[in-house]
Symmetry: C2
Subunit: 365 residues, 2 copies
């Protein structure tokens, strides 16, 4: 995101902490003042606050200025009429009416749960959507209700196809969550590129060299210069990027071929210049009920044993072996107690937005 | 596979060619003579010949001596009574009765198709199975019948968890196939490690250095020495291996937590020494009917456009951009015409097996 490229990752002592409910209040009221209805504001706030709490700052509060901008630009319909159309006993499609992808994502998961409750599984494709933030927001919602879930999205082109010289796929995320009684869910939420694009932007700002094997310049040649980087490599890099590219392709098939929506290489860039045209973005969600496969108690026993064995593996020096999501749950615990850290630049941008929208500004802890 | 480590990848001019129907005949009769019933021999032959034709030699004919060995050892039940138990409108579990995983895989896909035909989707978990060869064999069977499919398996531990020093996950494969009218399917079939373990064994034999960032020694330190390599890194290597490890974990949840079977780190090693104890391996298959999401003609239009755009991307010098599976379909076309190349050492092993089992040996083209 060009306008907010200075704010991402890490945390400095000068940053202020804001309590999660206050962030929630602010996101909600800013979006409402910006033209979003209650349901849309609720969904975006839930997703952004959740991501910020889990430490996924790239998809947290820092996205709010962007969302306000595309709401103003007209790309996003702030008062969408979502229509869910069942297509079989287990499948359906949700028309997001060009509203926020977050609202569509939570609604799709609800419909998926409802289908899975009746028939074991439910899959919901989403059409006419837009950026939905962190894919993990939605699988997490399913896991919190006791279900397994997978979520997929495509996104505008930033990542090479294998052996291509220019970007073709988006950073196309895949998320998977599995519930655990008395524990936070097992939670995978990953881009199918090695690094997210905003890490390139961040490294441009702090003038830090990129790792090798993650980006290419405009000629398609490997580069570690963040200013020269024009596209990302898929997960697996030069040698094994065909695997990351294939996973990105899986997202394309599920989110575009199976929905009639745009493929990544056809999508309008997230940051414009066009902020008014609807993007025709698709998502895909799959919800599964554990009891449709195995006795619940055995599932719980198996998951618990697996995670315990994983977490007690001998680790490389200075580290420990964690399950997907463990790092996030630790950050969440700390941030729920101490507040969400917000850097001074973002804080100023949000203060300006508050003034422009005539809403009460964000109050630090 | 220790016993067959000399035979993998590539092809030399000294290799002989054997016509696919002749390979099929030989695999079938050798397995039958080794104690497998017709259905088991058919399924293994179909999977091995298919993999060999597609150029997936690591999972093709070269596995036959291993399968004959575990059939003799008693690990594999050559005359299994498969029992499919529906668990909901869309899910069921198949007890493989410790037979060949290939037989279970094809049967699970059939049951998945039957569920999907009625209700849009079908998921089938498999219990009490064993090695099923190439995961792509089964998704391909679904795609050939007009369905989308995902396949997952776990396997004995060879791959680090992220930040662990010793192997914990298997090379846990994920496969996805999507049908296309008048074209070969879109076919992803990938281990969740960067390289397969038999590449390490092969490089030991030819004394070639491994690429960097794919393997560690017994102390958990990176190595490029194939003789020192004790475990593989997950896809993404040192920097991003948490993503490959998460994908391996997805296989564990679906194939073991959701089935009650063994996790990778609990599984008996594929190559023994114990070749008699049943392995308690699980698999997981998901079948989806495109028409349960979108009009078939629109799906076909979308897939065709996507693949055409992908294949016509500008490529790095000396290469071309291919879709997942494209390389395999080219090899298949060539091998269907010219025969499957078999190296002299494997040919000799197979001749010995033929003699021991009193079946007609493999005849080259």
């Amino acid at each position: 995101m060009n306008s907010i490229k200075n704010r991402t990752y890490g945390q400095e002592s000068s940053w202020q902490r804001v309590a999660a409910p206050e962030v929630d209040r602010f996101v909600r009221s800013a979006l409402q003042a910006g033209g979003a209805d209650d349901a849309s504001a609720d969904a975006v706030a839930r997703a952004l606050v959740g991501a910020s709490l889990r430490g996924v700052d790239s998809h947290g509060l820092r996205l709010l200025p962007h969302y306000l901008k595309v709401l103003r630009g007209g790309r996003i319909n702030g008062r969408p009429e979502l229509v869910f159309k069942p297509l079989s006993n287990t499948t359906g499609t949700l028309d997001a009416d060009n509203g926020f992808g977050h609202l569509a994502g939570y609604r799709a998961i609800e419909e998926g749960i409802s289908l899975a409750e009746k028939n074991g599984m439910g899959a919901v494709s989403v059409v006419n959507s837009s950026h939905f933030g962190a894919a993990g927001s939605f699988t997490l919602a399913a896991a919190e209700a006791g279900y397994l879930a997978l979520a997929f999205s495509n996104s505008d082109k930033l990542v090479l196809a294998h052996d291509s010289v220019a970007p073709f796929h988006g950073t196309n995320p895949i998320s998977f969550a599995a519930p655990l009684q008395g524990q936070q869910p097992y939670l995978i939420d990953m881009a199918t590129s090695s690094i997210p694009y905003n890490r390139v932007l961040h490294y441009q700002t702090i003038q830090r060299e990129l790792p090798s094997d993650v980006a290419v310049d405009s000629g398609g040649h490997m580069t570690t210069d963040p200013l020269a980087a024009a596209a990302l490599l898929p997960l697996g890099g030069l040698g094994y990027g065909y695997k990351g590219a294939a996973l990105a392709g899986l997202c394309e098939v599920l989110c575009a071929a199976l929905t009639g929506m745009a493929f990544s290489h056809q999508l309008l860039a997230i940051n414009g210049p066009d902020l008014s045209t609807r993007r025709r973005l698709g998502h895909f969600f799959l919800v599964m009920k554990p009891e449709a496969f195995i006795e619940r108690s055995l599932y719980e026993t198996q998951m618990t044993a697996y995670l315990q064995d994983l977490r007690t593996q001998n680790a490389v020096a200075g580290s420990e072996v964690m399950a997907p999501g463990d790092r996030e749950w630790r950050v969440q615990e700390e941030r729920e107690a101490q507040g969400i850290p917000v850097d001074p630049v973002l804080l100023q941008v949000l203060a300006d937005q508050a003034e422009a929208l005539n809403v009460l500004g964000l109050t630090a802890c």
